[in-house]
Structure formats: C-alpha cells, structure tokens
C-alpha cells in the first residue's frame, strides 16, 4: 500500500505524553522518513512490556524507569530494552481529593503548587490523622517502576512523611485515577496528564503540586526499544528518532497546540475531550474549579534537550529503586542502569540534522538553578533550571555516596 522502507509498530498508553509518537504518525514526520508507523493503544504497562518482549512492538511509549527495571530483571518478562530517546520533560502532577485539600489548606497549603508548602501541610494532616487513629492516606501511582512513584516518594520523604509507613501507596491505571478520587477509594494520586486535569474538571480533586517543581527538567516517558531490533535495524531506528525529533518540534510550537489537542482527543489516542489536553500543553494548569496556575515548563516536548536520554536520569531512577528496596545496589546493577539509556544512538540519528546536542551524556542534576546556555555541537542549546525542590544535588559520578546518604536519611 505504501512505499515505506521501514515498518515499525509502537505501543502506547492513552496519555498526553504519547503526543510525540502520535504527531510523528499523524503529521507525516514518520512517513517523510520512509516509516510506516503503526500505533497500538494498550491497556497496561505490563502489556507494553510483554508485547515488546515477544516482538509485536519494536518500540514503545514507556515510563522512564521501566526499561531499567526490565534490564535489571525486576519484571516477570522482558526483553533487553534500550532508551535511545526521551519523549519530553515534565507532564505529571500530584492531585488530592477535595476533602484532603480542605485539611491541607487548614494547615497552610496555599495552592501555588509549591512542593514544600504542600508537603508541609500534608505532613501536618498525616500527623493529625495518626493522632486521631484515622486510616493512613491512600495515594495512587500508575506503576512501581514509574517516575510518579519515585517523585511522589521523594517529595513525601523530603517533607518528613514516610512513604511506606505514614501513607499507603497503591497501583492503579491512569484513566481510573480521577474516578477513584471521586469515589473516595483514593485520597490523592500522582499521574500523567490529562488525568489530573480530568480529576479537577470533574470536580473530584485539586492539584497540589507538580513534577515540574519536584524535580525540574526531568523525564516522564521515554521511547523504549527492543535491543535486538535496534542492533539489526540501525537505519530504521535512526529514521524513527529523526521523525520523533521533528514531531517534538511541531508539538512545541504554540500555534499547533489546539490542533495537537484535537488529535490527542481522538478515540484512537486518549479518547477524551480536547479541553482536557490544553492545560498541560499551554502550562496554564487548571488546579481547581476557580484556579489556574501558570507552570513554567509543565510539559516540555522539545526545548532544553527534552528528548535527550541523559544517563544521569537513568542513574537517579536507579538510585530510587535502591532507596525503596526494589533492587540491591551493586556496581553491576548500576552499570545495567547506565547502559540502558543510549545517548550514542540519539547522537548518531540527530547529528546529520544539525540538531542542538548536549556536549556530555550525563549532568549533575540540580547544578543549574536558572536557564543556562550550554556549549553544544552545532545549534545553540539552553538547559535548566534542573534539580530537586529541596536543593538536593545528584552527581552521577558519586552514585555510591548518594545512595549511602539516602540510606542514612532513612535510618
């Protein structure tokens, strides 16, 4: 039917940050690279993993830590999975029920999305509930190996709340989060868009804080690729990365937001109203019925090297797997995490385009307090601000020290 040189099947979940893959197909960037790109909507991350493992998919929209977990053998079934590209920065939020927000507001939460203020208020609520013998708050995340899980836990712990003792963290698929909040099965959740906006617009909750403030300039989803396929199809992979790069540029253009929201709203993709997509795309986040907060860099599809697979990102996720007891720390495991993210594949594909490429493959997370022009090959590149809301620094060259310090914190 087509004269495509490459046929690629990609799995995705109905989330706004599948936008880069969707735009690559719908706006013709994949076709322009000679790729017949088939997108298959899935119902769980486990399905994405399984179908990548058996070869139904060559690549997939994946939670950023998931390929690392696969390669570390933490999942029931997995092929060796590499990350040649990230699918943007930011894009998730922490939303709490109206009842919990009411209690948090009574303890000083202000609604400006500051992680510190919201976390301090939450700690006061947790302490009060413990005193009165109330059940622990129940918070939802979409997967144990997700940025949501690690960022929520990081935020809670940095605010003096024990994620394993003071609250209960449960797993729920993203499209069910808003309803679970409404039916009081959950007190809060951390999930990607549009499910926070959905909870707010349906009147079930309020956005308390956002990933873009907990860990600035951090990746949410990545392109996971079957390593065997990448090895055998280097040309197809490079073509796909170029297509996604062009799609990311298109998604980043403010003039295209309305069209992108319309595409994502289609039944084949997220299948929800276009109005639910717009807040994340514009950064004008609807945090409550009567409140819109402008969040800088809420979701960054392209600027600031948003699709670059930083090894420091992979290693921070790994450090959190160790922190929460999912894996034992060893030099061999750290190497598996480091080698999962493949900036070399990214560079090979995008260098011929003259795209702005960072000079290094890893950076100290938290070293850039403000947007900073950095030396890059070819075009100009601005990075940051990056890092953690509590001022913590993550130096990937001192992974052992970071992990040891975390352990002392827990003790």
């Amino acid at each position: 039917m087509s004269d495509a040189r490459f046929e690629i099947s990609a799995g995705f979940l109905p989330l706004l940050d599948s936008a880069l893959l969707v735009a690559a197909r719908e706006k013709g960037f994949a076709a322009a690279e000679g790729i017949d790109l088939t997108l298959v909507r899935e119902t769980s991350w486990a399905n994405i993993r399984d179908r990548l493992a058996v070869g139904h998919f060559q690549v997939a929209h994946m939670l950023a830590p998931m390929p690392i977990a696969c390669n570390l053998g933490l999942t029931p079934l997995a092929a060796t999975t590499v990350v040649p590209m990230a699918l943007g920065l930011g894009g998730n939020a922490v939303t709490v029920s109206n009842a919990l927000w009411h209690d948090m507001a009574a303890h000083g939460a202000s609604g400006d999305l500051s992680p510190r203020a919201a976390g301090d208020a939450l700690r006061a609520v947790v302490a009060e509930r413990t005193r009165s013998g109330a059940a622990p708050l129940r918070l939802g995340v979409v997967h144990p190996h997700s940025g949501h899980n690690y960022e929520l836990r990081y935020w809670l712990a940095a605010c003096g709340i024990d994620p394993d003792g003071d609250v209960e963290i449960v797993i729920l698929p993203p499209p069910l989060m808003a309803d679970a909040l409404g039916s009081r099965a959950l007190d809060g959740f951390c999930a990607g868009e549009p499910w926070n906006t959905a909870a707010v617009l349906l009147g079930h909750g309020r956005v308390a804080t956002v990933k873009a403030k907990i860990w600035r300039s951090s990746p949410e989803k990545v392109l996971g690729a079957d390593a065997r396929w990448c090895d055998a199809n280097a040309e197809a992979l490079s073509a796909l990365l170029r297509a996604i790069h062009h799609a990311a540029q298109w998604c980043a253009e403010p003039a295209n937001r309305a069209e992108l929201a319309g595409i994502m709203a289609a039944p084949a993709y997220v299948g929800r109203p276009a109005e639910w997509m717009l807040p994340a795309l514009s950064g004008h986040l609807v945090t409550a019925a009567d409140s819109v907060v402008d969040v800088e860099d809420f979701f960054v599809p392209q600027a600031k090297a948003a699709t670059f697979p930083w090894k420091s990102h992979a290693l921070w996720f790994y450090s959190q797997m160790v922190r929460w007891g999912q894996v034992e720390h060893s030099a061999a495991n750290a190497a598996i995490a480091r080698e999962t993210y493949r900036p070399d594949l990214y560079r090979t594909a995008l260098k011929p385009l003259g795209a702005a490429l960072p000079g290094a493959n890893a950076k100290v997370e938290g070293a850039l307090p403000a947007p900073t022009p950095v030396g890059s090959a070819g075009a100009s590149l601005v990075l940051g601000p990056d890092g953690f809301f509590d001022g913590g620094l993550f130096d990937p060259d001192d992974l052992d020290g970071y992990i040891a310090a975390q352990r002392n914190l827990a003790g």
């Binding site: 399905n47 399984d50 493992a53 058996v54 070869g55 933490l74 029931p76 144990p144 797993i171 698929p173």
Partner: protein, 235 residues
C-alpha cells in the same frame, strides 16, 4: 506431604525479591520436587477475566482436564482478599485487563500473596509465551511448580482464548452483515421513493456507484441513508 510442597520458600515474605531470584528459587524447588512422589495434589487455578463468557469457557476447559479447584473472578475490586482466600497455584488473566500492573505489583509485594509468583512457568520457553501473548492471555505461576504440571493449563488457556476470539470475530461478522443488509434495504427504499424507480433499478444504481467509487455497497448505502437523514427526507 502436600503442605511441604507448598513450602513458601525463602523469598515469600519481606522485601520484594527480584524476578531473577525467584527464577533461581523456581529451579531449585523444581529439582527438589522431582525427588517427590509423582502423585500430587490438584492445582488451584484462579481465572481473572471481566468477560464472563470467556471465563466460563476457560473454566469448562479446566474442569474437563480434571482441575476441580477453579475460581472465577470478574471484578478486580478486593482481589487481594480473593487471592489470600483461594491461595492459587496458577493465575490466568486476560491481557485486556487494565489492572495487570496493579496485580503484578501485588504479586511481588503484598502479604495477601503467601508465595512468590512468577510469570509463566519457564521464561526460556519463548514459543509458549509468544503463543499466550498472541492469544491475549497471561499466566502467573507460583514458585516451585513443575513445568509439566502447568504447561497443559497454559496451553488449554491459550487455545480456549483463541477459540473465543474466533467465535467473537464470527459473531461480529454475522452482526455487521445483518446491519449491512438492513442499511442497503433502507437505501434502496430511499432511492425508489425519491426517484420513482424499481427495487432492481435502485440496487443496480448503488452497485454501479460502488464500483465506480471503489467502495463497498454498504458504504454507499450508508452515505445515502445519512444524506437522506440530513436532508430530512429519510424514507
């Protein structure tokens, strides 16, 4: 003796063990199990499927194969409790279920699950894993079960899932054929009324349009019906 086979092993409680460690435990346990008598207790099977018809088909297959201890669950609400009560050896779940991530997490962490559960019985058996994923079914198997005991259950689930998909496809085809015939009849009626032609002429007209436009007859008919509806002169 039955109890000892169900020995939870060293990785059943406490911190989550990695899949690799579980696989190791599995091999160790199966070696141990080989020394035991061939006569073993019936396996307890839990089938999680929101589709009641398909679940019944699986159940019937399991019972025919002599597995009496089968529990069906259609709704994952309170699934932890059900798993704790039924203490299954094998869990069969359809891939459409959006709660697989939650369930896998539960298998790894929850105290509701008394024994560690791995996916499938043998990770190296890629052909049967692929067959299962193709069919849309997944299975989780408690550590220490012998491959020969579980494989027939998995194979049966795969073939029943495939049979169900075939049936569903045939039903869907029959249904859409019927719908097509209805819409073609309506379109014929509209043409006969608006143009004052016979049924045969109306049919011939639509056939010709379908051939000229390289579209299906039912699509031409549907366009006619839709257009007539928009213009308010639906027959």
């Amino acid at each position: 003796m039955k109890r000892s086979r169900r020995n939870p092993g060293p990785f059943a409680f406490g911190r989550p063990s990695t899949a690799r460690r579980r696989i190791f435990a599995l091999h160790k346990d199966s070696r141990r199990a080989k020394k035991k008598s061939m006569k073993t207790a019936a396996l307890r099977v839990l089938v999680i499927d929101e589709n009641r018809i398909r679940a019944s088909i699986i159940e019937a297959g399991l019972r025919e194969a002599g597995h009496e201890d089968v529990t069906l669950v259609h709704d994952v609400a309170g699934i932890g409790q059900r798993i704790a009560e039924t203490n299954p050896d094998v869990i069969v779940i359809d891939l459409e279920n959006p709660n697989r991530d939650m369930l896998e997490n539960m298998f790894q962490l929850s105290r509701a699950v008394k024994r560690p559960i791995a996916m499938f019985v043998d990770r190296s058996d890629s052909a049967s894993i692929e067959a299962a994923v193709d069919a849309g079914v997944s299975a989780y198997v408690v550590d220490g079960l012998k491959r020969e005991r579980v494989k027939p259950i998995l194979d049966m689930a795969v073939s029943r899932f495939n049979a169900f998909s075939r049936l569903a496809r045939e039903l869907e085809e029959a249904r859409s054929e019927l719908e097509d015939r209805k819409v073609i009849d309506r379109a014929k009626g509209i043409l006969m009324k608006s143009r004052g032609i016979s049924e045969a002429e109306a049919y011939a007209l639509m056939r010709k349009a379908a051939m000229n436009q390289n579209r299906k007859l039912s699509e031409i008919a549907q366009s006619l019906v839709t257009a007539a509806g928009l213009l308010g002169d639906d027959a």
